[in-house]
Structure formats: structure tokens, C-alpha cells
């Protein structure tokens, strides 16, 4: 078992959240996502549940927790769509796992890191969704519009930065 030193990043920056926050924030993100898209359909480019999944994963720095958080949020999201349940669940499971794994290595409280992380994970989420649609579901007409996905990544990043600062307030020191 690897020993943790006093200065280990995992030891000094691992955060936990109260059960209420753990439960309510993802649900609130999903409901808010549905409401903003109802308000203006162009806002469907946003992915608030993805932002929340990334935040919890990098904050907890536990790949298992990140995987389960991503899977839970993704499955809830899938249940509201007309598509097979599990598409977003699988994509966000992978994103949660990688986000938590990266969170152990780098300083995720840094603004530049957060920007890069959100941009990269938004693109990764789009690529995984495309692969699931194309390979697992056999949708030959599924295409990936790179310009559209880059715009989506930029918008998600812009929205994610203030949300991360807000959610920092819900962190509970160990």
C-alpha cells in the first residue's frame, strides 16, 4: 500500500461533501439543465450535469467515486431522454474516472487548470458519445461536428468556471 507523506496532494487537498450536497447538487444541475433548455432551446449546447460530475470527481480525487458519480448523473440524464439508458452514463463514468485520476496529480484549484480540464473533458465526453452511438448503437448517420463540439467545449468551460467557484463553498474539510 503506498504511504502518504505529509505533503502529499492527495492528503492535503482531498475534499468531501455533505450527503445533502452530494445528492442535491447533481439533481439541481439536471433540473436546471431541463429548465434552461425549455426557456431557450439553443442552450441545449450546455451540459451542466457534466460540469458537476467533473467538479465532484476532481474534488474527491477518488477514481471509484468519480466513476460512480459520473454513472449516476449520466443515468439520471438518460432517463429524461428518449434514448437508451446508459449512453450518458457510460460517457460520464469514463470522464469521472479520468477527472478523478488527474485530480490526484495536478492542482485542480488553479483557474488555468480548471479551464483546460473543462475544455478537455467536454470534448472527451462528445467523442465518447459519438463512439457509443456509432459503434455500440450502430447509428451510421451519427457524425461529429468538430466546430460545434469545440463551441460546446468553450461554452461549457465559460459556464464551468463560476460554477466551480460556487461549488467550492460546499466543500467540507476532512
Amino acid at each position: 500500500m503506498p504511504s502518504l507523506s505529509y505533503t502529499s496532494r492527495e492528503e492535503i487537498e482531498q475534499h468531501s461533501f455533505s450527503p445533502a450536497v452530494t445528492l442535491l447538487v447533481p439533481v439541481a444541475a439536471i433540473i436546471l439543465q431541463v429548465l434552461v433548455v425549455k426557456l431557450y432551446w439553443r442552450l441545449d449546447i450546455l451540459d451542466l450535469p457534466l460540469i458537476v460530475a467533473i467538479f465532484f470527481s476532481v474534488s474527491r480525487r477518488s477514481p471509484s467515486a468519480g466513476t460512480l458519480t459520473g454513472a449516476g448523473i449520466g443515468l439520471l440524464q438518460d432517463a429524461l431522454t428518449g434514448r437508451p439508458i446508459g449512453v450518458n452514463g457510460m460517457a460520464k463514468s469514463v470522464v469521472g474516472y479520468i477527472a478523478a485520476s488527474i485530480g490526484v496529480k495536478v492542482d485542480v484549484d488553479n483557474l488555468a487548470t480548471r479551464v483546460l480540464m473543462n475544455f478537455g473533458f467536454s470534448l472527451l465526453n462528445s467523442i465518447i458519445l459519438f463512439l457509443i452511438n456509432r459503434r455500440l448503437l450502430g447509428q451510421a448517420e451519427a457524425h461529429i461536428g468538430w466546430i460545434h463540439e469545440l463551441i460546446r467545449a468553450v461554452i461549457n468551460t465559460v459556464v464551468a468556471v463560476p460554477i466551480f467557484f460556487l461549488l467550492d463553498l460546499t466543500k467540507r474539510p476532512e
Binding site: Q33, L35, P63, T67, L80, V87, S93, V94, G138
Partner: protein, 421 residues
């Protein structure tokens, strides 16, 4: 063994989670086979829980927005209501006329359908519903409405607006229902091109557009052509507007087929209220029959009025023709040839033209070329005459008798011309 699980715990969790979801996906994709069809019982249960949890929040926030808009538009913002009312009344009048014009065609169409034993399905009952939510993602175009099985809704019922079709019910819960919009990539509908009468299948696309991609190139298909439902899918009644053709291009993925993109008739992205078709019948609904009868009555009234006007115009024309004939034979009473009367008193109004007097003037004799005792103005007043005295103007030559041939006697020209001679 323990160290293996503890060492690879995170990876194992990821693999198990992904594997479980992959198996779940495989089960869902295997059944049902039909795209856009409702889920199996286990999937429906999960969806029911999530939808049942989320929709109260959607309903709550939708209620706030709706009541705010309702209060504003019905109690405060009434500035243009009178003008709108006038416009609507004018539109109703115009539509009544249009209805009467189409009523006869509709009646003839029904007669022909009956002769051909054609089963047309008419919408008899609808349920109005408010859109309270959406899927929240561009991967799936579904909507949530505030009516469910408690209101008589069932799976696969068509959802429309007055502008055109919207989609069909995919999942129905007691107090809410999920609508699969026609621009979702798993949607489809049987359609008919209105001008060319070509049947096709409409599909949604990942980009949210609606397309027809099962037709080979045809020169008759042009942008702007209206697309209607064909009724062949047993979901949407025949004849509902779907949209208009926007672009036609060769489908690069499915040559030699074309990719026809449509502009939807209903605004699929900003829907507030929809109608769910809960009943159809093969006979024309009573209300529609009443409207059709009213239209036919209006058409008959218009036809009768038009006939009366035509008869009146024909009578006028006939009368005018007769007077014209008389006028030709009496050139002196033509208006164009009539010189203004210098002896008329100033301020007197000229006589208006009438059927009996088309020239509009009192006929006056032409100036006399050879005056005699019968010429007007040459005879002195009786008060100045002395009995037994001669003519004041002297001896007047007696008129020479003229020999008239029988032809001249029969001719009206000679009759009418004689007073002037």
C-alpha cells in the same frame, strides 16, 4: 487475491460499471426493434421514477412563468386588443368566404371518396396540453407535457399544433407524458408531397432537422413544395401539414437517393401548447358537417346573388342596346351631336341620361333651312292677328305635294326625317 482487488479497485469499478451499462444498452437496443417505440417494462420503471421526480419541479417553474405571462398579457398588456379583435373579425369574414368557396369541392371530394370506398380519418377529439419541460440535451428531442393517462392519453397518439404536426406520445404517465418530436433522430412519419403526390418517409436527424432520404432524384420535386401527412403510418391522420421543402441535394451517404430537408410547419423549438389527437373517425365530425353546411349555404347565397346581379346586368345591357339602336336611328338625339342650348336659362340643370332618354337631352328640331308658315317662331301670336286679314309676312307659297312610294312609306327613316323637312 485481496491485494489484486485493492490494487486495481478503481479500474475494476470502472470496468464493472461500464460492463453493466453495456449489457443494459444491449438489452434495450435488442427490444423493442422499432425505433421510437416505448421501452420495455424495466426501463419504463426507471424512467417513471426519474420523470416522476423531475416533472413536479418542471411543473412548478412552468406554472410560475405561465402565470406571470398570463397575468401580464390578460390584465396589463391589452393595448392592441381592439385592433387585434378587428383584424380577427376581418379574418373570420375572409375565411368564411374561403370556406364557402371550398365547401363545394369538399362535398364533391366526399362523394368521390364514398364512391371509391376510401376510408378517411377525421380528427374528432383532442386534448390541449402545456409543454412543461424537455430532455435538456440536443441528443434527444423529447418534450414533457402536463397531461397524462388520467386525461385519456395513450402511447403513440399524435401530437400537433394548429400549424402542423409535432410528434407522438412515447411514454405516458398518470399526470405527464413524453412526446417524441419529429426532428428526433429516432422519429419517422409517412408523408405526401402535396403537388406531385409522391409518398415518402420523413425522418429526424442528429442535427434536429427533418429530412426525407428515401426518394430518388425527381425533377418535379421543387423547393417550396408543401409536405403533408399521408396517414400511412397509422399515427398521424392524413392531410396534416408537416412542412415545406427547403433544400434538395444528393445524399452522399445513400446514393442515388436524395436528401430533402424540410422546414417544419410548427415551430418545434419553441412550443408552449400542443394538441394531442385522442380520437378519429371515418365520417366527418358533426361540427365539421355543420361548418360545411354553413359554407354550402353561404356559397348558394353568393351564387344566387351573383345570378341576380348577372340578370340585372343583362337586362340593363339589353335595354341599353335597344336605346342605342333607337339612338342610331335618331342621330339628332345623340349626346355627342347635341350642341349646348344657347337659349337655356343660366343655372338650369341638363337632363340626366336615362334608359328612356339615353342622350340625356330634350330633343330639339334642327334649324330650319327653308322657313315656311309652319316653322316655329314665324307664326305671330293669335292676339295680333285680325280675322280675315292676310298673312303678315305676305303670300306664302303652298307646299308642293310630294309623291311617296310605298317603300318610303314603310321606311322609318323617312318617317322620322319628315318633320324636319
Amino acid at each position: 487475491m485481496e491485494s489484486f482487488f485493492s490494487r486495481f479497485k478503481n479500474v475494476l469499478v470502472l470496468v464493472v460499471v461500464l460492463l453493466a451499462q453495456t449489457i443494459g444498452l444491449a438489452i434495450q437496443v435488442r427490444r423493442p426493434a422499432e425505433q421510437g417505440a416505448p421501452d420495455g417494462p424495466h426501463v419504463t420503471l426507471l424512467r417513471k421514477w426519474v420523470i416522476g421526480f423531475v416533472t413536479p419541479f418542471e411543473r412548478f417553474f412552468h406554472g410560475i412563468g405561465y402565470n406571470t405571462r398570463y397575468g401580464w398579457s390578460n390584465y396589463i398588456d391589452l393595448r392592441n386588443t381592439r385592433q387585434q379583435n378587428r383584424d380577427l373579425q376581418a379574418e373570420v369574414a375572409r375565411l368564411r368566404l374561403e370556406q364557402s368557396e371550398l365547401a363545394e369541392d369538399a362535398k364533391q371530394g366526399h362523394r368521390l371518396q364514398a364512391m371509391l370506398n376510401f376510408q378517411q380519418h377525421y380528427v374528432t377529439s383532442t386534448v390541449a396540453a402545456q409543454v412543461i419541460g424537455s430532455s435538456g440535451t440536443d441528443q434527444s428531442r423529447v418534450l414533457y407535457i402536463d397531461k397524462g393517462s388520467n386525461d385519456g392519453l395513450k402511447v403513440d397518439q399524435a401530437v400537433i399544433t394548429p400549424d402542423g404536426i409535432v410528434g407522438k406520445l412515447r411514454e405516458v404517465l398518470p399526470r405527464t407524458a413524453q412526446v417524441l418530436v419529429i426532428n428526433d433522430q429516432s422519429s419517422g412519419a409517412g408523408v405526401l408531397l402535396s403537388t406531385t403526390r409522391i409518398r415518402a418517409t420523413l425522418r429526424g436527424s442528429p442535427s434536429g432537422r427533418i429530412v426525407i432520404n428515401n426518394l430518388t432524384p425527381d425533377e418535379r420535386i421543387k423547393p417550396g413544395e408543401q409536405v403533408l401527412t399521408s396517414g400511412g403510418d397509422q399515427i398521424y391522420p392524413r392531410g396534416l401539414p408537416v412542412g415545406t421543402i427547403e433544400t434538395i441535394a444528393i445524399d452522399p451517404d445513400h446514393q442515388p437517393y436524395t436528401m430533402i430537408q424540410l422546414k417544419p410547419a410548427a415551430n418545434l423549438f419553441q412550443l408552449e401548447e400542443v394538441l394531442i389527437i385522442t380520437g378519429t373517425q371515418t365520417d366527418l365530425p358533426k361540427l365539421a358537417q355543420k361548418d360545411l353546411a354553413a359554407g354550402l349555404a353561404t356559397a348558394e347565397q353568393r351564387a344566387a346573388a351573383a345570378k341576380a346581379a348577372a340578370e340585372q346586368a343583362a337586362a340593363d345591357a339589353a335595354a341599353k342596346t335597344a336605346s342605342d339602336m333607337v339612338a342610331e336611328k335618331l342621330p339628332s338625339i345623340h349626346e355627342a351631336e347635341t350642341e349646348p342650348d344657347p337659349t337655356a336659362a343660366p343655372g338650369t340643370t341638363p337632363v340626366k341620361p336615362t334608359v328612356q332618354n339615353p342622350a340625356g337631352v330634350v330633343p330639339k328640331p334642327l334649324p330650319t333651312q327653308h322657313a315656311d308658315r309652319y316653322t316655329p317662331g314665324t307664326t305671330p301670336p293669335a292676339s295680333t292677328l285680325t280675322p280675315g286679314a292676310g298673312h303678315p309676312a305676305g303670300a306664302v307659297a303652298a307646299p308642293q305635294p310630294t309623291v311617296r312610294t310605298p317603300r318610303q312609306q314603310e321606311s322609318p327613316e323617312s318617317e322620322t326625317a319628315s318633320p324636319n323637312n
